[in-house]
Symmetry: C2
Subunit: 395 residues, 2 copies
């Protein structure tokens, strides 16, 4: 299970909400376990999940055509509520295997509705919140769901809830951390292969393709493939080009992927041959800054304070002019979760928060240098989830 | 250029709109050419594009940290409007190459704002629509942009515009069709490799991985990887499992990807060894249905009528009990564009519409069979963009 029920219940109570409706693929997956790759190609898909404050056990609202995906996914759902039409021939049902029989049983036994909003209104009524106050995630809502539901259920009041979902998800459950571990493992295996692909005469494109293909081969989906060599590394969102990597070039990797719905995001820098002393000194300063943040992370620390600490350490260790807008961010079922390791973020760290901590440096005309790791806040400090060495790689 | 200016201008006039604001990655890319992979990991990213009715030349609102990506992308933008802070060291600027100099010039010369909504309000004011009526794409709006902008600019009125963007994008430009051609080429090359990977003793997983990896190798991003063998092919959203493919099994592929921001979506069925006569007859009926639709597509035909035609042909050609909820959908910068080849859709086809036409059949206990092609409506009929044979593949 992914949902943090204790936290969800508390935040719902604080906001006077009897139920939450999820609309984004991420929030639906968080409440139910239902996530499929094809969400990527649907800007708006009418898949909804509903939890009520009494038990936080989700109902899932899906079209009949998605019923097989609901069975295949590792879901924890109280009631599947299906809508629309979908046709299966029943001519060979007697030959059906267990998977087919479960699908047919789900289609036959689940409450069915003409349309998604009918299913949602029916769900809220049956779950006893027809006259309550509910939060509606506006993240994938293009039809004004709140107003529609208020029209259907006189007495219901609605409020936007996308930001509440983010507040709930800020403290990860064990199930979430397992998935993040897996995504990080895919990501850093592919990163290691990509670093190894650097060689004399090899272009940025080939190195980036190695990362991309190695993620795919491990069942992940690449989401961030910044690979820049020499001065191109100073482009923060660099797209690998046909530039050939030369001896002495720093190659900056800022790379990420999704696996089992969860994100990973890491950075390392590698040099072909002997690094200049400037590259080595600057990179050492960035590592010191990142490690200084990691060794300070513990429950009770304020996210924004980590930012100032990291910048100060980098400045004291070799880059006196170092400036930065943030030194990291939450990581989870969204690639940019809360909190933000940035001056304005006063979030107090708690065990179970998962952070990407980073100290990038961009100097056009010279290079880009960066280190970034994924860590989980523990009871006493933090545990590094990414495991490859925190150093300037020499190839 | 991707935007259909004639159509955008007409639909804006019909809806009394002086400007359109795009919020989704798809609609921003459509107006400006700006699209990057990392959008995937941001549920909500404050990247906005604005066109006004006078010239439909877009302004792009991005954070300063995305300026390099705006330069790298093949964009057509009137004014870049930057917000927030981002730090580059300028110590080595004299050594900067052309790319670095363009980045610095863009950062120096573009209007800058504290936050994204400041940039958006500034843009609307400068473009002369501060007291106008504008459409705001609600597809990625979690902050209530319309209300915020109305508060900033007394006299401005706003209306939701996500559906208007879909109406504009329904007729593709030549630039869009080029990108769709490329995505289809990536997709069908990978599909061909995956079909060739079917062999005695090979599992579904290995065949699906071939598709996934071959898309990645060609620079695409897989978005739809349904590969099911034997009776598992009858699961509409089948996730490849460890089932070993047996002689006589039908293997159903419904596969898609994104390349250069555009989608492809195709289906084919392959049999290992000799197909049963039932598989062959049923599949021939599905091909007849799909080809019947393709040979009827021309400007003036109603999308919903194609649905009934397709179903009737399949029934007359070997599957008398054939039922289906739709026989296809638009395809473009969203994977499900308009129109829908379904009974209720009364869209009259026009040249430049791009359709995925499909006649899938799901019989649990037996098999799933499907064919799906991507076609463009021309002045006189339709052109098939996907090019592989429309047949039951025998491996």
């Amino acid at each position: 299970m992914l949902i943090n029920k204790e936290r969800a219940g508390r935040i719902m109570a604080e906001n006077g909400l009897d139920a939450l409706v999820a609309t984004t693929p991420e929030n639906v997956a968080y409440l139910t376990g239902f996530w499929i790759l094809t969400h990527l190609r649907h800007r708006v898909r009418q898949v909804f999940a509903v939890v009520t404050a009494d038990d936080l056990q989700a109902d899932l609202v899906i079209s009949r055509g998605l019923a097989d995906a609901a069975i295949a996914a590792d879901t924890w759902v109280k009631t599947y509520r299906l809508y629309g039409n979908f046709y299966f021939s029943t001519a060979s049902l007697d030959n059906g295997d267990a998977e087919a029989k479960r699908l047919m049983a789900l289609l036959d036994s689940s409450p069915s509705y003409p349309a998604a909003v009918d299913a949602l209104a029916g769900c809220l009524a049956e779950r006893g919140v027809a006259r309550g106050r509910i939060g509606v995630d506006q993240g994938s809502d293009t039809i004004g769901l709140g107003r529609i539901l208020e029209g259907r259920l006189p007495g219901l009041s609605t409020a936007p809830a996308y930001d509440l979902f983010r507040q709930i998800r800020i403290v990860k459950t064990a199930g979430e951390i397992d998935r993040i571990r897996n995504a990080v493992s895919v990501n850093e295996s592919a990163l290691t292969e990509a670093i190894a692909a650097i060689d004399e005469g090899v272009g940025e494109n080939a190195v980036a393709a190695t990362f991309f293909n190695e993620v795919a081969r491990r069942g992940g989906l690449p989401t961030l493939v910044c690979v820049g060599s020499g001065p191109r590394g100073a482009l923060p969102n660099v797209t690998a080009g046909d530039r050939i990597i030369h001896r002495g070039d720093a190659v900056r990797f800022d790379v990420g992927c999704i696996a089992s719905a969860y994100h990973a995001d890491m950075a390392r820098t590698a040099v072909l041959g002997k690094p200049s002393s400037k590259i080595q000194i600057y990179h050492d300063a960035l590592v010191a800054g990142e490690q200084g943040i990691l060794s300070t992370i513990r429950p009770g620390v304020v996210a924004g304070d980590l930012f100032h600490l990291g910048v100060d350490i980098v400045r004291a260790n070799g880059i006196p002019h170092y400036e930065r807008n943030h030194c990291g961010h939450g990581n989870g079922i969204e690639g940019y979760d809360l909190p933000h390791i940035a001056p304005a973020d006063r979030t107090v760290l708690e065990p179970g928060m998962v952070l990407c901590v980073e100290t990038p440096y961009y100097e056009p005309g010279f290079a880009g240098l960066q280190i970034e790791d994924v860590v989980a806040v523990t009871e006493t400090g933090c545990e590094r989830i990414s495991s490859i060495e925190q150093k300037l790689f020499i190839v």
